[in-house]
Symmetry: C2
Subunit: 247 residues, 2 copies
């Protein structure tokens, strides 16, 4: 055993490999809104295992990068977006000996919210990359690889609850400046429930520093009515009291 050696000496002679060593991947639930439907990016696996099935974009971490950096890299590789273009947070880590036939592969899952992009990019191991409506993905009509369906379910409920407390819903929108209708539309799509416009307005505008009037007007992307005021996200870091899902 060690006896009165320094930490430097200890490190010099230490071999981490005496402990079980596992592969770590980062997989991302990249949510966006397409045609007024909450959608998620999946890639078709080009190689074994689970070849031909749809999987979350992701991959093995590099030995010199943090988990967060790996997630940011993956997001960029698949979408061309940086973390500032959207929202990215760690979801949960999935690890057990049986989830991947190649061995003990642990997946650190992330959730991202991004605005609409023209075309996702298929990575190394993937033949296609495509956004699908979340309803379709969860409807059992698609072949989902590994335990990714569980991850997607967890990711979806994270998003649904996260937008209650944190001002991140606007990350789905294509413009820095948006109308209240556009923002409300995001909530309605993510929650799958209609909101009463006047109540939504009252609530959102009652939170200090949540939205900033930009002094400009245009007609909402989603409406045919009159023009409306434009807002940008303010400095508020939380929505308190939170917005609540109806019912």
């Amino acid at each position: 055993m060690e006896k009165d050696i320094t930490e430097d000496e200890f490190i010099a002679q230490y071999d981490l490999k005496k402990y079980p060593s596992v592969a770590v991947t980062v997989d991302i639930c990249i949510f966006t809104i397409i045609d007024n439907k909450l959608s998620l990016l999946l890639v078709k696996r080009g190689g074994h295992p689970e070849k031909g099935k749809w999987a979350l974009p992701g991959g093995f971490i590099n030995i010199n990068e943090s988990l967060d950096k790996a997630a940011q890299r993956e997001l960029f590789e698949e979408t061309g977006l940086t973390v500032d273009d959207g929202y990215l947070e760690q979801l949960k880590t999935y690890g057990n000996p049986d989830r991947d036939r190649r061995g003990y592969v642990t997946s650190v899952a992330y959730v991202a919210l991004i605005p609409h992009i023209d075309a996702p990019i298929a990575g190394d191991d993937a033949t296609q990359a495509e956004f699908f409506p979340i309803d379709k993905i969860l409807s059992n009509t698609m072949d989902i690889a590994f335990d990714h369906k569980t991850i997607i379910t967890d990711g979806l409920s994270r998003v649904r609850s996260k937008i209650e407390y944190f001002p991140i819903a606007h990350k789905f929108l294509d413009n820095e400046k948006f109308t209240l209708s556009e923002l409300r539309n995001v909530y309605e799509i993510v929650w799958g429930k209609p909101l009463i416009p006047s109540n939504f307005r009252r609530k959102i505008l009652s939170v200090p520093n949540l939205l900033i009037t930009v002094g400009d007007k245009r007609t909402s992307d989603i409406s045919g009515g009159r023009t409306s005021e434009l807002f940008t996200a303010g400095q508020a870091t939380e929505i308190f009291p939170p917005l609540r899902q109806p019912e």
Copy 2:
């Protein structure tokens, strides 16, 4: 490259070691209440690295167990308690190349709430195991190993918010049957703020199936007043609308 081979053939010739392989540990924030103070179990590191510093109990996963099982095992090793004796959930995963001098060590952190136990058990690598008040731990007077102080901070805020929505506060209590004062006391200690007893009662009892009257009475552990009714946890899985921290 592979060409029209089956998945079985692919797995047979596959070597996962071509990807960066990291060590995975599970570390647990084991919270309990001692002398009306929210406390956390720490172990003093008996070996390098970070020798002599206080660390979260934990250790490397075994290659044949899931992350959750590893956490349950660690909890049992340190406290003698099973997961049913308390509450255990995954917190977050911490991983970057620099957090442990031995190499790329990823820590999957968990949070546990447990009732009072007589004596924690020091594990292999630890010379002592001891509960400390959370205030002391965060007061910069203790030498905390690795990035465990960050983990503890995250764990604390998880606990504080989790008890708002989920009926887990009673896991701190020593008895299946408890009074409303005892339960309220838990909230007051975790949040560090006093609650108005009558309002707490009204709120808690208004949630369907949250608490069940057990038809028995005794005087509260924490009081010198009259006897009060005893309750047990009901089947409710969430507190809705949630309890809110004052101020």
